[in-house]
């Protein structure tokens, strides 16, 4: 007959909870870094495809950190209040149309952001995320 004896004291429970907290923080930090890397990679690829006439649209691209208490999120977006130097229009007023409507003058730029994110791939992102978390533990 074999026996295992476990003794729980307030101190040991506290120590266990602290260890869990540290491990959780490591995982969250690793995931946060990984999602930032994924967003930066996708954004760099999107910047290679975004149509450039004056460069205003490309300059308006940015990654936003939209983390909440329970969610890690990055948003890549184009279009802001910066005026196009040629037309004076804010990039936000035409970014959607340029993204959504195919133009023969910029055939490779059609849906530059959506297709970039899809081609970067959920699977590669998840793979990188898993490696980061594994390394952190």
């Amino acid at each position: 007959m074999s026996m295992v004896t476990m003794s729980l004291t307030p101190g040991s429970v506290l120590s266990f909870r602290q260890a869990l907290f540290v491990a959780t923080q490591r995982v969250v930090n690793a995931a946060n870094n990984s999602i930032t890397t994924a967003a930066e990679t996708a954004f760099a690829q999107a910047q290679d495809r975004v149509p450039r006439v004056t460069g205003a649209l490309a300059s308006s691209g940015k990654i936003s950190n939209q983390n909440t208490a329970s969610l890690l999120r990055r948003t890549i977006g184009y279009g802001d209040s910066t005026p196009n130097p040629r037309t004076g229009k804010a990039t936000s007023s035409y970014a959607t149309q340029v993204h959504e409507i195919y133009r023969a003058s910029h055939p490779n730029s059609y849906k530059w952001l959506e297709l970039t994110v899809r081609q970067y791939g959920t699977e590669s992102y998840l793979h990188d995320l898993a490696l980061s978390i594994k390394a952190a533990l």
């Binding site: 035409y94 959607t96 149309q97 959504e100 409507i101 195919y102 059609y110 849906k111 959506e114």
Partner: protein
């Protein structure tokens, strides 16, 4: 473009999109496949802009990513029309088996996107949605 022909015909039958324009049509304010013509103003365009090829894990089904563009001089007209199509899609999330010999599943994840006005002042709306199908 057999799939796109069938898709537009299906929407036209259900009265949520004009029928595909043909070469003999005098009335040209209909739906164009794969390209948005310069004229006339009030038209629709349906295109396949991306595909996921069938894979074993996907039960041999593939995905066509569809973009629908509606263009019209009237903002209320174009908005109401594209909204009607979107509502039709989100009310048909189930498997549709009688789709010309194969099945489709509509997966409208996002609503219509206001895409501003073109150089002629026409209002543009786009609607993007994947269609899962075993017609490959």
């Amino acid at each position: 473009m057999a799939f796109l022909n069938d898709l537009v015909a299906f929407f036209a039958t259900n009265d949520v999109m004009p029928a595909e324009v043909t070469s003999s049509d005098i009335e040209r304010e209909k739906t164009y496949l794969q390209y948005l013509p310069a004229e006339p103003n009030n038209v629709w365009c349906a295109k396949i802009y991306d595909t996921d090829v069938p894979m074993l894990v996907g039960k041999q089904a593939g995905v066509y990513r569809i973009q629908v563009i509606a263009r019209n001089k009237s903002h209320s007209k174009v908005f109401n029309d594209i909204y009607k199509l979107w509502q039709f899609l989100i009310n048909r999330p189930e498997l549709i088996e009688d789709f010309n010999g194969y099945y489709v599943i509509f997966d409208a994840q996002n609503g219509p996107i206001p895409s501003g006005q073109d150089d002629k002042g026409n209002y543009l709306y786009t609607l993007n949605f994947p269609v899962k199908t075993k017609m490959f």
